[in-house]
């Protein structure tokens, strides 16, 4: 990491600390912001957060590792999460997943070579009456069919 990048990241994190406070209770929201912007929370970012909240880096890492939506390694530019829980499963999640896997040429849990997509399973998204459901980044899509799902992915930049 270049020094300028580091400084920019530090400044960014400082601004979050300004917004949410320097108490440990600000941790989750600060991590969210970093995750949202950078799609991961880097080694340096974790240590900066630890420094600014006066906690240990391993505590930050421990919290990140606990939550499914936070990660320390970069993922693809777009994160696709498909519900794997029973109601969606019964409505044909399997076919949707297979279509996506075929179309993108990757297996679930992987990232496309061009880094455009990472595809993962998620547990119940709270859209069970409209399954199969999936989330692309922070938007959700429901009543999917294999064709529809692939079509939706094609529209993503």
């Amino acid at each position: 990491m270049l020094v300028v990048e580091k400084n920019a990241l530090s400044e960014e994190i400082e601004s979050y600390v300004e917004k949410y406070g320097n108490d440990r209770s600000a941790l989750l929201m600060i991590l969210h912001e970093i995750q949202k912007k950078h799609r991961h929370i880097s080694e340096f970012a974790q240590q900066e957060v630890a420094r600014l909240l006066n906690i240990h880096p391993v505590e930050v890492y421990s919290v990140i590792s606990f939550f499914a939506f936070l990660n320390t390694n970069p993922k693809g530019r777009n994160l696709v999460r498909i519900c794997q829980t029973i109601s969606c499963d019964m409505k044909g999640k399997k076919q949707v997943v297979e279509a996506i896997e075929r179309e993108l040429g990757i297996k679930i849990g992987e990232t496309t070579k061009d880094n455009k997509f990472t595809v993962e399973y998620a547990n119940c998204l709270g859209l069970c009456d409209m399954g199969p459901a999936m989330a692309i980044n922070d938007q959700v899509f429901v009543n999917l069919t294999p064709e529809k799902a692939v079509e939706l992915l094609a529209k993503v930049k």
């Binding site: 240590q47 420094r51 906690i55 240990h56 880096p57 391993v58 505590e59 890492y61 421990s62």
Partner: protein, 637 residues
Amino acid sequence: MEDKKSLRAPVSQKPHVIPKPEHPEYLGGSITVEINEKKLTVPFGTTILEACKQAQIHIPTLCHHEDLCVAGVCRVCVVEVEGMRTLQASCAFPITAPIKIKTTSNAVRKARKHIIDLLISEHYGECYSCFRNNNCELQSLAKEYGVDHYNFGHVTQPRYEVDNSSYSVVRDMDKCVLCKRCVRTCIDLQEVGVLEAIDRGHNTHIGTFLEKPLAEVICINCGQCINRCPTGALRANDPRDEIWAAIDDPTKHVIIQTAPSPRAAIGEEFGQGPGKSFTGELNTALRRIGFDKVFDTNFAADLTIIEEGTELILRLYKDLVKKEKVALPQFTSCSPGWVKYLEHFYPEYIDHLSSAKSPQQMFGALIKTFYAQKAGIDPANIVSVALMPCSAKKFECNRPEMNSSGYKDVDYGLTTRELAQMIKEAGIFLPEMPQSHFDDPFGEASGAGLIFGATGGVMEAALRSVIEFVTGKRVEDVYANADITPVRGFEGIRYAEIPITEVGPVPKLLQHLIPDWNWLKGATLKIAVAHGTANAKKVMEDIKAGGKFSECHFIEFMACPGGCLGGGGQPIPTNEEIRKKRAEAIYNEDKSLPVRKSHENRHVTELYEMFLTDGPCGHISHKLLHTHYVKRGKYIA
């Protein structure tokens, strides 16, 4: 409720205790409970586990540790509380109502057995190839509950790699039961913050920052996590094989120095209760094992006192008389865990550390120079072993700057546990050994060096000399029996002021250093003692904020709770009671010694006459007995 800022460990692992009443005898201060139909009155807020202990009812535990806050995660200690739908973890349940408890009902027994079965099903390790064999809490639980087969299968493959990157601590997470004692130790008790639970669910494991090897994170090597681990998941980096090889090699002259704390605790490894020193017996045993010479680390401790005390007087002189800028308070430097803690967390303060090496390293340097010369042995053929209560000593002797003899000053740091193992391997039962003395030319040391092992000991030892140096009075005339009680005890942080009312004739050894000593008259020496790095942190934060401790002149810091006698290489288990007993053993041995002040150790004065000829803090001493430190900082690369 505690101050939020001090809540560093996950709150769920904090006691969350209902504060116990100051006067349990007042109305409402106590509650009568029924345990297995027996009535018992306990103070409000007592946990069920504590109450059962009072009633002499045994409850199995695994994640509970007396030194640490409540976790309530293993669930082995569950009991039935009448009226509650589920079983309750007795270690985590504060009594606030007159409840009825059953500790051995069918549901309870079954649950405990299930839990032990589950833990064992995931436990990759075999007792006969494990250093905790016969001293393992999981093993004893299995025995207690009569586990005779794998009820829920058994892992056949390791899940984790053993991390032996560190000179001090080896982590084998396949033997971990996730009791989180190490996490609570490292974050709470020591406030270092190396270990935490990583991932969740079945993938949960104890890890470091981004799973880096222990050697690459800011572990201070204190080994306190080892002492509190119930299983063999954490152990010290064991040099026994190398030491045996050296003993077996006829060309090697193998020397061992023994520190006082291991001597006060090693009996525990042989089934003796804590509180008795086996110094003489150990000397004999070590010779039988095949060590060529056995020296007393206390000799070097006496030397440390002279060097460190002189350094302090020189700093004070520069500050008070010459008005030069010097780093005060001076910090002790004999605890390598503390030194590394300061290097990481308060690097801007490293010039406050006394430049004097720790006794272990001073001795190491002398053995391969002074002793080698005197005995006519090529230092290249000397293998120098240090019996220490401490896992950080293993790291210390491997610090690159610790080779002022031209060789690695100390080759191996050996812990109490490891030496006990060697003694057993040699077929020796230590308590039955005849007693014998230490070898010349260093001989027996003073009681001052001995008490280094207890928190406050370095300070007391230093004071015994400093008071005599400057006042010309005998310590015994100031403090009965030369027991400087204000610095003794187990309170985390202690502070004392010692007024210097008169200045007497200064001993020959120091006379050349300062022309006139009268400036000390009327001064008040302010000193403090802190043990456990969490307490050290409090003192450091106070110093940073310009508080009371910033006005101190001299502060003793020990990384481990209780000082060296609670070190990370000491016998397992540990708790406050055991540590107190060990301290008693040390103070008793001190009382029994003819010489109790470092400067009265004749071997030390001789050393200055014969070898360190330009005196304390002179050139020779600086080359051999002093060192420097590294500003490490907190950033993990």
